[in-house]
Each structure stands twice: as C-alpha cells, then as structure tokens.
C-alpha cells in the first residue's frame, strides 16, 4: 500500500510539473500569438470577442490578471475539461475535437500495440524455448521488416492491398456513405474493415522487436539454476516454460511495453497520415499546419497524460509481477 501511495505521489508531482510547463511555455515565448491567431481567424470570418477571450485565457495573454491568477484559471479550465477553441476546426472546442479523434487512435494504435506485444512475446517464448525451430528462424525476416522505414512499408502494403488487389480501402476510418457512426453492426463492421490493414502494418513493423527481445531473455532465463531445479522437480515442461521461464523473461518486455503504450497517442502520426485515419495524430498534423496553438496544446496535454498514465499503470503492475522492485518500508 505504501508502495502504491509513493508511486501515486511521484506521478502527481510529475503531472503537476508537466501541466505547469504546458502553462508556462506559451508565456515565455516571444511575440503575441493571440494577434496572430485572431488575424488568421479574421480571414475566415468575424472573430467573436468570446473566441479572443478564450485564446487569451489559454495562452496567458490576458495581462489584466496577475500570473498566479492566470495559473489558477488554467488549472480550473483543465479541471472543467475546457481547453479553448480550435482554430483549424473552428468553432469546435479543443476538448470536443480530442474527444472525437482520441477513440480512433486508441482503438487502432492501442489495439495494434497490444496485439503486437502479445504476439511478439508469445512467439518469442516459443522461439527461445525451442531454439532453432521454424519460429526461431522467423526472427531475422521480422526484424528486417522492423528496420524498414514504417511509412514506406505502410505505403507499399497500401499500394498492394488497396490499389492492386483491392481488398482493402485506401483511406479513412469507416465508410462514410453507407454507414452511420454509432453502436450499430454495419458501422462496427466497417471500422474493422477499414482498420485491419493499418493495424497489420503496425503489427508487422513492430512484432519483430518484441519477439527478438523475448526470445533472447528466454534463452538467458533458461540457463538459470531455478529452471534446472524445476526440471529436477519433475514439473511439466509446459509449466516450466510458462510459470518459470516466460514468467521471468517477460519482465524487461513489460517495461518496454509501458513505454510504447505511453507513446500510443504521440507515435501515431505517420500511421494515421498514411492511411488518412481520423485519429489524433492526423489532427495534430492539421493543427501544426494551421498554427492551431490551442489544439496543439490540448493534444500535448493528452500526450503527457497518456505517457504518465501508462507509466503509472506499468509501474504498479511491475511491482506486482516483480516482487524485487517493491520498495521495502
């Protein structure tokens, strides 16, 4: 319990530091981004005082207030989920835009990261257990796929499966003409149909690393004395593989998994751009292209939160799966 509280305390401090930086950086930047944004907005139409106010509040250009009051206001906004208004998708609010795109990213990139991890660790376990088997021989080709630049691999696969074979849609997250977003079967089917190829490219390009890492840890774990002891105890080989070897060998992979989970939101840009997927990475690109500071700030906040959250989760999980890391009170 003490261990959990310590961890939670640490992450609370990290979160505070991250949000404070998120608040301070625009204030430390030279120039006045508010005027920039307002003039940009003015090209598209009339700028309401409300919008100007929102931008001022978010970027801290509201000079009537002392800094500490702005800071408190910033926290209040975050607590209410109010991140200002987007310029690129005006007049949608930033939190609405994030709420719209985040599920797509979590679904596609999150799921394929998890699938890739499970598949890689599973295959790696077998490859390490039966060295020299066909699974083991798969590793060089899979690591080669990983060393190929992802966008290139994705484009090639998109070209082959989407254009030549025509078995996969070329872009988007669902069929916008024949289905309507919601919990209906046609829509879900369409999401799966559209998401399969992007997911496959992500899995194919990352599974080799998991597999290689797990395989090597398996090999070194298998030479440990406790494996020999387990064998001498007459324990079933399958149980030795799972409960003794893989159980211990997976620990470093879990740490790596934590990091990649944290970057699910941040690392999705290339995949989403290649497949024009309606996720948060694609939106971040739009935000950067149209100087949408509020949206960028909101996305960065989400990235920060997801990295911290994933790390916290795995930190706590690690304490459970590796008793040696538990701090002694």
């Amino acid at each position: 319990m003490r261990f959990v509280l310590q961890k939670l305390g640490f992450y609370a401090v990290a979160l505070w530091a991250a949000v404070t930086l998120d608040f301070l950086i625009p204030r430390l930047m030279p120039g006045n981004p508010v005027d920039q944004l307002v003039s940009k907005l003015a090209q598209k139409g009339q700028v309401t005082p409300e919008t100007r106010r929102a931008i001022e509040l978010l970027l801290g250009a509201d000079l009537d207030q002392p800094l500490w009051q702005q800071y408190l206001g910033f926290w209040g906004q975050i607590a209410r989920g109010d991140l200002g208004r987007s310029v690129a998708y005006f007049p949608a609010s930033v939190s609405d835009m994030i709420g719209q795109t985040l599920p797509w990213t979590l679904g596609l990139i999150g799921l394929s990261t998890i699938i890739s991890f499970l598949l890689g660790v599973g295959l790696g376990t077998f490859a390490g257990w039966k060295r020299g088997s066909w699974v083991d021989n798969l590793i060089p080709s899979l690591t080669m796929l990983q060393s190929v630049p992802y966008f290139w691999l994705a484009l090639i696969l998109l070209y082959v499966f989407g254009l030549i074979l025509g078995v996969s849609p070329l872009n988007g997250g669902y069929d916008p003409w024949n289905t309507f977003p919601g919990w209906n079967w046609a829509f879900i089917q369409s999401v799966i149909y559209y998401g399969t190829l992007p997911a496959i490219t992500i899995v194919v390009s990352s599974v080799g690393g998991w597999m290689l890492g797990m395989r090597n840890m398996m090999v070194s774990t298998l030479s440990e004395d406790y494996i020999l002891t387990a064998e001498a105890k007459g324990i079933h080989p399958r149980r030795i593989m799972r409960a003794y070897a893989a159980r211990n060998a997976v620990l470093p992979s879990v740490a790596g998994f934590a990091i990649s989970l944290g970057f699910v939101v941040a690392g999705s840009i290339v995949a989403e751009v290649v497949f024009s997927y309606p996720g948060i990475g694609n939106m971040l690109l739009q935000a950067v292209n149209s100087n949408d500071y509020a949206l960028m700030q909101g996305i960065f906040l989400v990235i920060t939160l997801s990295v911290l959250g994933a790390n916290l989760l795995v930190d706590l999980l690690y304490g459970v799966i590796d008793p040696r890391t538990r701090a002694r009170s």
Binding site: D225, T229, A230, E231, A232, G234, R239, Y244, R247, P323
Partner: protein, 300 residues
C-alpha cells in the same frame, strides 16, 4: 570397479546387501567440437540410507555424473553407455535410462531429489517460497487438497528450522543459509529415497555450513534417505560420509570407507588430495598444492 576396491571386511556392507542405486559403467561425453569424456565408465553402488561422498577437483566430472543419474543433462552432453538402476524400497527396480516423458518426470524428485550447487539461484526470484514448495505437490500429488498441501509445506519448513511464516517470503527476502534450508526442505517434500547434493554448502560461510550439515545428518537419520554428497572439500566428506569415492578426470580412482580412505589411501591422487589440506598440528608448509593437469574441461 567397485569389486576391486577394498572395503572393510566383517559384516557385509550395506551397499552390497541392500542397494538403492546401482550405476554400472556409466559414460558421459560432451559432444562439442572436441569430444570430452567427462564421465568415463563409472560404477557406483549406493546403499539404502548411506551417505556416499563424491570428491574431486573442479571439472573432474562429479556434477556431470550427478546430473547424468537423474537424466538432467542437456546437449551437448550425451550418456554414451552404462546403466543406472534404481531399486525402490517398495521392491521394484527402475531402469532410469529407459524412462521417457511423464515417467521420467514422475520419477524425478519422487525417488531422487536434488540440492544444487548454487542454492542462491535455485529458487525462482519472482515466486514465493510457498508456490515453489507447493509446485512439488501439485505436480506429484495432484489429488492433495489445498489445505493439506499448505500444511505440509509449513511442516517441511519447520523440519529444517525455518519459521512457517517464511512461506510467504520471496527468495530475496531470505538469507543464503535460509534459502539452502528451503531447498533442502523442498528436496525432502516427497520423502525421496536418494538425495543428490551437489556442493550444497559451497556458497555458505563455515558457520552456516556447519549448521546445514548438522541438519542434513539429523534428517537423514530420521528419514533414512541415502545421500550422494558432492564436494571438493575432502575433510568435510571424511566427517559426514559412510564411504567416499574420489573422482579424477571422469574416473573413480578410489572408493573406500571414510576411515579407510583417510588412514590408508591407496591411490596417489587420494594421497595428494588428503595432503593438500593443511593440518592443524602438522609442520608448517608441509602440504602439496600441485595436483597435476586435467584434460576434462570445466563442467558446470
């Protein structure tokens, strides 16, 4: 080879009347690029309830022999000849070399259990002591209830002088001596007839070593299992063994009762080994260190 070696006359020795383990002409090779014969036509008979010491320098093949008995060798080690016969106390004989699959699995630990060299690393660091002890029962006594199993594990720990609460500990929370005691408790779990101890006290300091040895001697007289005790520490063997086999370059060069071996060593190597330990009372500097070269590679 046993037949030619001297044993004290008089009553027939235990290992001839009631053997529990008979090793005949066992040969083990490491079939690497250069073939190394680590165990070379070794014959040994272990009597029921006997402590047999197996002494020899590092790399003489004593661990390989121990693993060979229980079929724990991995490639490139290959048993090339000989036989290992186990005479169960229920009266049937098991040809260990012919065991395969589940039969071999159920034979291990049930009949011959082992305590390994690196007791520090013989326990899985991420599993509780309880789980590792219970694993033995879930494998070999699957019909045992959870409560009985727990109770047995507690008893086992207490038998080796470790508190029952330690069941909930992880290995890294125990001292080296305690870990070795846990391993001994684990080795006794199924009431085996033979326990192979491969340098069980090497990593421990002399005080803990003494306690562990006393424990082993006591448990053996209570439970009556036979022990193959492997070490390079000849004086220690002289103290605890009934008979001692001296091994060198994969061969057993001498096998005799402990006292006989000490007082009338026959083989030159045995004399050298005995002479290489300083005596408390002898003259200063009067022991030989040069034991000659070995061709057997360092094994395990």
């Amino acid at each position: 080879m046993t037949a030619t070696l001297p044993t004290t006359a008089g009553r027939a020795p235990r290992h001839e009347v009631d053997p529990v383990l008979e090793i005949t002409d066992l040969s083990i090779e490491y079939q690497a690029e250069k073939v190394v014969r680590a165990v070379d036509h070794v014959s040994l008979t272990l009597g029921r309830g006997e402590v047999l010491g197996l002494a020899g320098e590092s790399g003489c093949g004593k661990s390989t022999l121990a693993y060979g008995i229980n079929r724990l060798l991995k490639t490139p080690a290959v048993v090339t000849g000989g036989s290992v016969m186990f005479h169960s106390r229920e009266g049937h004989t098991i040809d260990v070399r012919a065991l395969e699959g589940d039969d071999l699995r159920f034979f291990r630990w049930e009949k011959i259990s082992m305590v390994f060299q690196g007791a520090m690393n013989s326990l899985n660091p991420v599993k509780k002591v309880r789980d590792q002890l219970e694993d033995v029962f879930t494998t070999h006594r699957p019909d045992l209830g959870k409560k009985v199993r727990r109770e047995r594990c507690g008893e086992l720990l207490e038998r080796v002088g470790v508190d029952r609460n330690r069941l909930n500990a992880y290995p890294h929370e125990l001292s080296g001596g305690m870990r070795q005691r846990v391993m001994i408790a684990m080795a006794m779990a199924l009431d085996p007839q033979v326990m192979i101890m491969d340098e069980p006290t090497t990593a421990l300091d002399v005080v803990v070593q003494r306690e562990i040895l006393r424990e082993i001697t006591r448990l053996r007289s209570e439970l009556g299992f036979a022990v193959v005790f492997i070490t390079h520490d000849l004086p220690l063997l002289l103290e605890i063994s009934d008979r001692i086999a001296v091994m060198r370059e994969g061969r057993i060069v001498e096998l005799a009762e402990a006292l006989t071996l000490y007082t009338q060593p026959q083989h030159d190597y045995t004399k050298t080994l005995l002479g290489s330990f300083p005596s408390l009372t002898g003259e200063r500097g009067g022991f030989v260190r040069d034991t000659g070269s070995t061709h057997a590679e360092e094994i395990r």
